[in-house]
Protein backbone atom coordinates (compact mmCIF):
# COMPACT_ATOMS: atom_id res chain seq x y z
CA UNK A 1 0.00 0.00 0.00
CA UNK A 2 2.89 2.38 0.64
CA UNK A 3 3.63 3.00 -3.05
CA UNK A 4 -0.07 3.86 -3.48
CA UNK A 5 0.19 6.42 -0.69
CA UNK A 6 3.44 7.72 -2.16
CA UNK A 7 1.61 8.32 -5.44
CA UNK A 8 -1.26 10.07 -3.66
CA UNK A 9 1.20 12.19 -1.67
CA UNK A 10 2.95 13.26 -4.87
CA UNK A 11 -0.43 13.86 -6.45
CA UNK A 12 -1.31 16.10 -3.50
CA UNK A 13 1.90 18.09 -4.02
CA UNK A 14 1.18 18.55 -7.73
CA UNK A 15 -2.46 19.32 -6.97
CA UNK A 16 -1.41 22.07 -4.58
CA UNK A 17 1.30 23.36 -6.90
CA UNK A 18 -1.04 24.01 -9.87
CA UNK A 19 -3.51 26.36 -8.12
CA UNK A 20 -0.69 28.09 -6.23
CA UNK A 21 1.10 28.69 -9.55
CA UNK A 22 -2.10 30.08 -11.05
CA UNK A 23 -2.56 32.51 -8.17
CA UNK A 24 1.10 33.59 -8.21
CA UNK A 25 1.11 34.18 -11.98
CA UNK A 26 -2.09 36.16 -11.71
CA UNK A 27 -0.67 38.21 -8.82
CA UNK A 28 2.45 39.00 -10.85
CA UNK A 29 0.62 39.97 -14.03
CA UNK A 30 -2.51 41.60 -12.68
CA UNK A 31 -2.80 45.27 -11.75
CA UNK A 32 -2.66 46.33 -8.09
CA UNK A 33 -4.57 49.54 -7.41
CA UNK A 34 -6.33 49.04 -4.10
CA UNK A 35 -8.64 51.68 -2.68
CA UNK A 36 -11.00 51.63 0.32
CA UNK A 37 -14.19 51.51 -1.76
CA UNK A 38 -12.96 48.62 -3.85
CA UNK A 39 -11.90 46.66 -0.83
CA UNK A 40 -15.03 47.21 1.18
CA UNK A 41 -17.36 44.31 1.82
CA UNK A 42 -19.69 43.70 -1.11
CA UNK A 43 -23.36 43.95 -0.26
CA UNK A 44 -24.89 44.91 -3.60
CA UNK A 45 -23.77 48.51 -3.24
CA UNK A 46 -25.31 49.17 0.17
CA UNK A 47 -23.26 50.26 3.14
CA UNK A 48 -22.48 47.35 5.44
CA UNK A 49 -24.56 47.40 8.60
CA UNK A 50 -23.36 45.80 11.81
CA UNK A 51 -20.68 43.18 12.24
CA UNK A 52 -20.09 40.78 9.42
CA UNK A 53 -19.98 37.66 11.51
CA UNK A 54 -23.64 37.29 12.25
CA UNK A 55 -25.10 34.61 14.42
CA UNK A 56 -26.64 31.52 12.95
CA UNK A 57 -29.78 29.53 13.13
CA UNK A 58 -29.45 26.48 15.36
CA UNK A 59 -30.89 24.02 12.76
CA UNK A 60 -27.62 24.18 10.83
CA UNK A 61 -25.93 22.79 13.88
CA UNK A 62 -28.58 20.11 14.47
CA UNK A 63 -28.23 18.80 10.93
CA UNK A 64 -24.45 18.73 11.22
CA UNK A 65 -24.85 16.80 14.45
CA UNK A 66 -27.11 14.14 12.95
CA UNK A 67 -24.74 13.92 10.02
CA UNK A 68 -21.78 13.30 12.35
CA UNK A 69 -23.48 10.31 13.96
CA UNK A 70 -24.48 8.79 10.61
CA UNK A 71 -21.02 9.42 9.19
CA UNK A 72 -19.42 7.38 11.95
CA UNK A 73 -21.99 4.68 11.39
CA UNK A 74 -20.99 4.33 7.74
CA UNK A 75 -17.38 3.88 8.85
CA UNK A 76 -18.47 0.74 10.65
CA UNK A 77 -20.52 -0.43 7.69
CA UNK A 78 -17.68 -0.44 5.15
CA UNK A 79 -15.69 -3.28 6.80
CA UNK A 80 -18.98 -5.11 7.28
CA UNK A 81 -19.84 -4.72 3.56
CA UNK A 82 -16.49 -6.24 2.63
CA UNK A 83 -16.82 -9.03 5.15
CA UNK A 84 -20.16 -10.01 3.56
CA UNK A 85 -18.57 -11.38 0.43
CA UNK A 86 -15.74 -13.03 2.34
CA UNK A 87 -18.07 -15.02 4.59
CA UNK A 88 -19.21 -18.54 3.79
CA UNK A 89 -22.43 -18.91 1.81
CA UNK A 90 -25.53 -20.27 3.49
CA UNK A 91 -27.03 -19.59 6.89
CA UNK A 92 -23.82 -18.22 8.35
CA UNK A 93 -23.50 -15.69 5.55
CA UNK A 94 -27.06 -14.50 6.07
CA UNK A 95 -26.27 -14.19 9.78
CA UNK A 96 -23.44 -11.78 8.94
CA UNK A 97 -25.88 -9.71 6.89
CA UNK A 98 -28.35 -9.72 9.78
CA UNK A 99 -25.70 -8.32 12.13
CA UNK A 100 -25.40 -5.31 9.86
CA UNK A 101 -29.17 -5.02 9.50
CA UNK A 102 -29.53 -4.84 13.29
CA UNK A 103 -26.84 -2.17 13.34
CA UNK A 104 -28.68 -0.12 10.73
CA UNK A 105 -32.07 -0.59 12.43
CA UNK A 106 -30.70 0.75 15.72
CA UNK A 107 -29.43 3.82 13.89
CA UNK A 108 -32.73 4.23 12.04
CA UNK A 109 -34.42 4.33 15.45
CA UNK A 110 -32.26 7.37 16.18
CA UNK A 111 -33.38 9.00 12.95
CA UNK A 112 -37.02 8.30 13.80
CA UNK A 113 -36.49 9.87 17.24
CA UNK A 114 -34.95 12.99 15.72
CA UNK A 115 -37.86 13.13 13.27
CA UNK A 116 -40.51 12.81 15.99
CA UNK A 117 -38.68 15.39 18.11
CA UNK A 118 -38.94 17.86 15.25
CA UNK A 119 -35.18 18.15 14.84
CA UNK A 120 -35.53 17.57 11.09
CA UNK A 121 -37.78 20.60 10.69
CA UNK A 122 -36.36 23.93 9.58
CA UNK A 123 -37.53 26.08 12.46
Amino acid sequence: MQSEWLYIGLFLLVGIFIPVAAIVISALLGPKKPNPIKQSTYECGMETVGVNWVQFKAPYYIFALIFLIFDVETVFLFPWAIALNQSQPGVLGVFVAVEGVIFILILLAGLVYAWRKGALEWM
Binding site: Y61, L65, I69, D71, V72, V75
Partner: protein, 102 residues
Protein backbone atom coordinates in the same frame (compact mmCIF):
# COMPACT_ATOMS: atom_id res chain seq x y z
CA UNK B 1 12.52 2.00 9.34
CA UNK B 2 11.01 4.00 12.17
CA UNK B 3 11.45 2.56 15.67
CA UNK B 4 8.33 2.21 17.82
CA UNK B 5 9.76 4.72 20.32
CA UNK B 6 9.28 7.61 17.91
CA UNK B 7 5.56 7.01 17.69
CA UNK B 8 5.25 6.59 21.45
CA UNK B 9 7.13 9.79 22.21
CA UNK B 10 5.11 11.74 19.67
CA UNK B 11 1.87 10.37 21.11
CA UNK B 12 2.97 11.22 24.66
CA UNK B 13 3.83 14.77 23.61
CA UNK B 14 0.53 15.19 21.78
CA UNK B 15 -1.33 13.85 24.81
CA UNK B 16 0.44 16.32 27.10
CA UNK B 17 -0.30 19.26 24.80
CA UNK B 18 -3.96 18.22 24.71
CA UNK B 19 -3.99 17.90 28.49
CA UNK B 20 -2.58 21.40 28.82
CA UNK B 21 -5.34 22.66 26.54
CA UNK B 22 -8.02 20.96 28.61
CA UNK B 23 -6.69 22.35 31.88
CA UNK B 24 -5.72 25.85 30.79
CA UNK B 25 -8.43 26.94 28.35
CA UNK B 26 -11.29 29.14 29.44
CA UNK B 27 -13.66 28.45 26.58
CA UNK B 28 -15.62 25.19 26.84
CA UNK B 29 -15.30 24.52 23.11
CA UNK B 30 -11.52 24.96 23.31
CA UNK B 31 -11.47 22.41 26.11
CA UNK B 32 -13.22 19.95 23.80
CA UNK B 33 -10.58 20.68 21.14
CA UNK B 34 -7.94 19.66 23.66
CA UNK B 35 -9.79 16.40 24.33
CA UNK B 36 -9.74 15.66 20.59
CA UNK B 37 -5.95 16.00 20.62
CA UNK B 38 -5.71 13.56 23.53
CA UNK B 39 -7.94 11.02 21.79
CA UNK B 40 -5.78 11.27 18.68
CA UNK B 41 -2.67 10.60 20.73
CA UNK B 42 -4.35 7.46 22.02
CA UNK B 43 -5.19 6.41 18.49
CA UNK B 44 -1.59 6.82 17.33
CA UNK B 45 -0.53 4.52 20.17
CA UNK B 46 -3.17 1.91 19.41
CA UNK B 47 -2.28 1.72 15.72
CA UNK B 48 1.47 1.75 16.41
CA UNK B 49 1.10 -1.12 18.88
CA UNK B 50 -0.91 -3.05 16.31
CA UNK B 51 1.73 -2.51 13.61
CA UNK B 52 4.70 -3.29 15.84
CA UNK B 53 3.00 -6.06 17.75
CA UNK B 54 1.25 -9.06 16.34
CA UNK B 55 -0.25 -8.30 12.96
CA UNK B 56 -2.50 -11.33 13.12
CA UNK B 57 -4.83 -9.81 15.69
CA UNK B 58 -6.45 -6.69 14.31
CA UNK B 59 -7.52 -5.55 17.81
CA UNK B 60 -5.51 -2.31 17.65
CA UNK B 61 -7.39 -1.11 14.60
CA UNK B 62 -10.76 -2.18 16.01
CA UNK B 63 -10.03 -0.24 19.20
CA UNK B 64 -9.05 2.78 17.13
CA UNK B 65 -12.38 2.64 15.30
CA UNK B 66 -14.23 2.37 18.60
CA UNK B 67 -12.29 5.45 19.71
CA UNK B 68 -13.58 7.22 16.60
CA UNK B 69 -17.14 6.37 17.61
CA UNK B 70 -16.53 7.52 21.18
CA UNK B 71 -14.97 10.76 19.96
CA UNK B 72 -17.96 11.43 17.72
CA UNK B 73 -20.39 10.73 20.56
CA UNK B 74 -18.38 12.92 22.92
CA UNK B 75 -18.29 15.82 20.46
CA UNK B 76 -21.99 15.52 19.65
CA UNK B 77 -23.12 15.53 23.27
CA UNK B 78 -20.42 17.91 24.50
CA UNK B 79 -21.06 20.57 21.91
CA UNK B 80 -24.79 20.07 22.34
CA UNK B 81 -24.39 20.84 26.04
CA UNK B 82 -22.22 23.88 25.30
CA UNK B 83 -24.79 25.28 22.91
CA UNK B 84 -27.63 24.61 25.30
CA UNK B 85 -25.75 26.36 28.11
CA UNK B 86 -24.92 29.24 25.80
CA UNK B 87 -28.59 29.73 25.05
CA UNK B 88 -29.51 29.86 28.72
CA UNK B 89 -26.52 31.64 30.23
CA UNK B 90 -25.05 33.44 27.22
CA UNK B 91 -21.54 32.31 28.03
CA UNK B 92 -19.19 29.52 27.05
CA UNK B 93 -16.52 30.28 29.65
CA UNK B 94 -16.25 27.15 31.74
CA UNK B 95 -15.27 29.01 34.93
CA UNK B 96 -18.45 31.06 34.92
CA UNK B 97 -20.64 27.98 34.90
CA UNK B 98 -20.81 27.74 38.67
CA UNK B 99 -24.47 26.98 39.21
CA UNK B 100 -23.61 23.63 40.77
CA UNK B 101 -20.76 24.89 42.91
CA UNK B 102 -22.45 24.33 46.23
Amino acid sequence: MIPLSWYLILAAALFSVGLFGVLARKNAIAILLGIELMLNAVNINLVAFWRYGSLASIAGQVFAIIVFAVAAAEVAVGLGLVISIYRRRNTVVADELDLMKW
